[in-house]
Assembly symmetry: none
Homo-oligomer: 220 residues x 2
DNA sequence: AAAATATTTTAGATTTGCCTAAAATATATT
DNA sequence: AATATATTTTAGGCAAATCTAAAATATTTT
């Protein structure tokens, strides 16, 4: 039974979860992710500790407890189910989906989410290719072949974008890269790890490392 | 352009709107509706006045401004569209719909609501029979649903009696039917258009056409 | 129209989440 | 290992929305 938490608390838990997964959890990183000051983060960490959602003590590393992780997975589940709904049913563009889901995820009815899940036919992956935890909190690993690792001349499809940064999504839109887009690596420049990629059937273009590492592909 | 308001502000505006429609708007009634104390209501009324959503001055009557009414209609629109969605798509029972919609209505994306509206095919009435304002804030009069038109097994309340005939009122008294009485149609006889109705929790009784066409009901 | 009652508002506190500035601790550099 | 730098925490405050208790105004009753 997940009791009720404030929207702020949930946002902290979610951010902690994601940073923890990336292996870069700290007060400073958290404050950056949440756009608050480190001092504010410390305040909240104490509260989360009191609620037994994280383990924490002054100046030490901190992390989610089991209880915290269960909550985090539940929030992630809500978020991704809503993303799926917005994209699949309401035909939102996939780069608009994230912001709205950010609000919807805090609606706390367990029943709502389970019914939504059923209505959507229990999708296991959201529009960004991220796996959706099921009602028990189980989430599959996601395939992790990045565009940056794709062999030369191997045709593949974009299946996920490993970042929600607006600037990135904007860039993808500009290049007309989306889920399912066919790509093929033509050349690799060791100098700056940039890559020459053929998108769909257009002439090859140059893409930087940050971008190609964020694009998850699957060989055709 | 509806700027952003806090959830609390929106709840106040919505409650003021409904009380205003029923003709019973006062600090005390508002505090009861919102489950806060009158003193808290006064505080908020000052804030809403500053934001030009209501007209108010100490100890005087207060009411929504045009700006306030537009906002109220927009909130009502969101609420009722979500209710429709929950009932129609997710198959929630009607009595569960309200509480969840109460949370969903505060998700502020205009685009979300318009797309939801389209997805639902622009319904004009929610599962309780209440009219849904359109994107322009236009709302039709509440449909006068007569007991004779009530679907089978749909619980409803008597909200009006479309006749003042003494004989009718006498009959109602005899059956212990009054405003607010819960009714549920159990069977319909096409032969003489009489109906078998369960009143409150008593055993169902037979009512004639003239009577059932005079009783206005509202789905619960 | 005065008194009694009911309603509403003011005044002063509390809690949540945030802030700035300063202190404490941890990490990196020499 | 000592110092310099970076990070994190503490201390003290602020704004939103609430509360209680007391004061001000309206309304009802006699």
């Amino acid at each position: 039974m997940l009791s009720k938490y404030t929207i702020t608390e949930e946002n902290y838990i979610k951010a902690i979860f994601h940073l923890q997964e990336e292996g870069g959890l700290s007060t400073g990183k958290l404050s950056a992710a949440l756009k608050t000051k480190p001092a504010s983060v410390t305040d909240m960490l104490k509260k989360l500790k009191d609620k037994k959602l994280i383990s924490w003590s002054p100046y030490k590393k901190f992390k989610l407890t089991v209880k915290g992780k269960i909550l985090a997975l539940n929030i992630v589940r809500r978020h991704r189910l809503w993303e799926y709904f917005l994209s699949e049913k309401l035909h939102f563009d996939w780069d608009e989906v994230h912001a709205v889901a950010e609000e919807l995820e805090h609606v706390s009815s367990e029943k709502l989410i389970d019914k939504l899940d059923a209505y959507l036919n229990f999708p296991r992956v959201d529009p960004h290719g991220d796996p959706i935890p099921d009602a028990m909190g189980n989430m599959q690993q996601r395939a992790q072949l990045r565009l940056s690792d794709l062999p030369i001349n191997a045709p593949a499809n974009i299946i996920a974008v490993a970042s929600q940064e607006l600037q990135l999504l904007e860039l993808l839109k500009h290049f007309e890269i989306g889920l399912g887009t066919r790509v093929e690596v033509k050349k690799r420049f060791d100098f700056d790890e940039s890559i020459e990629v053929k998108i769909k059937n257009k002439t090859a273009i140059q893409l930087g490392e940050a971008l190609t590492k964020s694009l998850i592909v699957k060989l055709i």
